[in-house]
Amino acid sequence: MARRIRARTLTHLLDSYVRQFPDDAALAATGSSAVEGAELLTLVAGGSAWVLLDRLHPSVSVEWLRHGGDPVLRRLFERSAPEPLSRLWPTLDTSLQTRVMNLVDAPTATRLKSLANTGGG
């Protein structure tokens, strides 16, 4: 039986795809279910995950995040770049925002609070 592709290899290739062809990758990922999307967020590196989240319809991004596990959410928000985060954060509902705030470290929580105070800008 043929050997299975290791997750590490898949991550490397998907990161390469997303980095080089972000729009193509986002389009290809758009049809994924919320569970599959959460799985993709787990597979790709943080930067690539934000590239995808930033290009999807906000309602899709939110569903992906909602289905993401705690470690994924922590990793994503603690290492996020300011721009996509400031766009996405206001679109999250209160329960998801609260969940994220309870997961992340103090500096990230402070950053997220400031986003909320400035209305996401």
């Binding site: 592709i5 290899t9 998907l14 390469s16 990758a25 994924s32 993709l40």
Partner: protein, 279 residues
């Protein structure tokens, strides 16, 4: 991982060149797993774009049916090159697993082998793609220190010989960042089908210890050192039985598929008299 695998397939299908470059840096067993997991018509488009050392290594790591599915979808000379870079048991297994007419072309070419440069050459010469960065080249050479004993040949993505370089040139950043920018853009070569006797007298040996060997289309198919050429001199002239064995055991697949094979070889011989070297 289903969603990830689906996304990966889109990447491979729509951007085979970029996917190939990404696959080249993966271990060969992983590249083999990725390619084997795709429909052959997608896998082959990626595989063809990989640098040949990486592509050949991936081929050798595949299960035979997957490997044959790829081999039968590429041009015969390239297939021969891939086969020739395998160790002999793998090369034999793959060749025998290939369906006709491909396999017939190999057998016909082997039985028709002349006393040529191809019989003596090293079939897997050190070569780097011209579009690799110097850093990629350095990482590759670190993994393959055996190549450091030679000048290093430089090829394009189709494995045409485009130059030669060495460690000094690779380390010199003045020219540019790619291997192609750090090479001597001309590499005289011997022709695969040149007769050994004529190659031995070639003037190129006055300034080169090792010469690349190319086929009629300019594909890099091997390298021949002057030392090896001289060491086989007596045997070549006196022991036809051993020569026959050499042809079969060491270089039998050198002609594999220069299919169109016999016809192409005849044409080459007419165009380039035996032993003639090209720049």
């Amino acid at each position: 991982m289903e969603a990830g695998l689906r996304l990966l397939r889109r990447f491979l299908a729509e951007h085979p060149r970029e996917a190939a470059v990404a696959l080249e840096v993966s271990p060969s067993s992983e590249a083999a797993a990725v390619l084997s997991d795709q429909p052959p018509e997608i896998a082959v488009q990626v595989w063809k774009q990989m640098a040949i050392p990486a592509a050949a290594a991936a081929l050798g790591a595949m299960e035979v049916p997957s490997a044959v599915a790829l081999l039968c979808r590429i041009e015969a000379p390239l297939a021969a090159l891939m086969i020739f870079r395998q160790n002999l048991p793998v090369a034999r297994t793959l060749t025998q697993a290939c369906p006709d007419p491909w396999r017939t072309a190999i057998e016909r070419a082997c039985s028709a082998g002349p006393l040529s440069v191809g019989a003596l050459m090293h079939p897997a010469p050190p070569a780097l793609p011209a579009d690799w960065t110097a850093r990629q080249a350095g990482e590759f050479l670190t993994k393959h220190p055996e190549f450091l004993a030679f000048d290093i040949f430089v090829v394009d993505r189709s494995w045409h010989l485009v130059g030669r370089t060495d460690l000094f040139r690779l380390a010199n950043s003045a020219g540019g960042n790619t291997v192609g920018a750090r090479m001597q853009p001309s590499a005289p070569s011997l022709l695969l089908h040149s007769a050994v006797a004529a190659a031995r007298e070639d003037a190129l040996w006055r300034s080169n210890d090792v010469l690349p060997v190319t086929d009629a289309a300019g594909l890099l198919v091997g390298a021949l050192s002057h030392k090896r050429l001289r060491s086989k001199e007596d045997k070549v002239s006196d022991e036809p039985v051993e020569l026959r064995s050499l042809l079969i055991d060491a270089a039998e697949l050198a002609w594999t598929g220069f299919t169109g094979a016999v016809d192409a070889a005849a044409t080459v011989t007419r165009q380039f008299p035996s032993g003639e070297a090209r720049s």
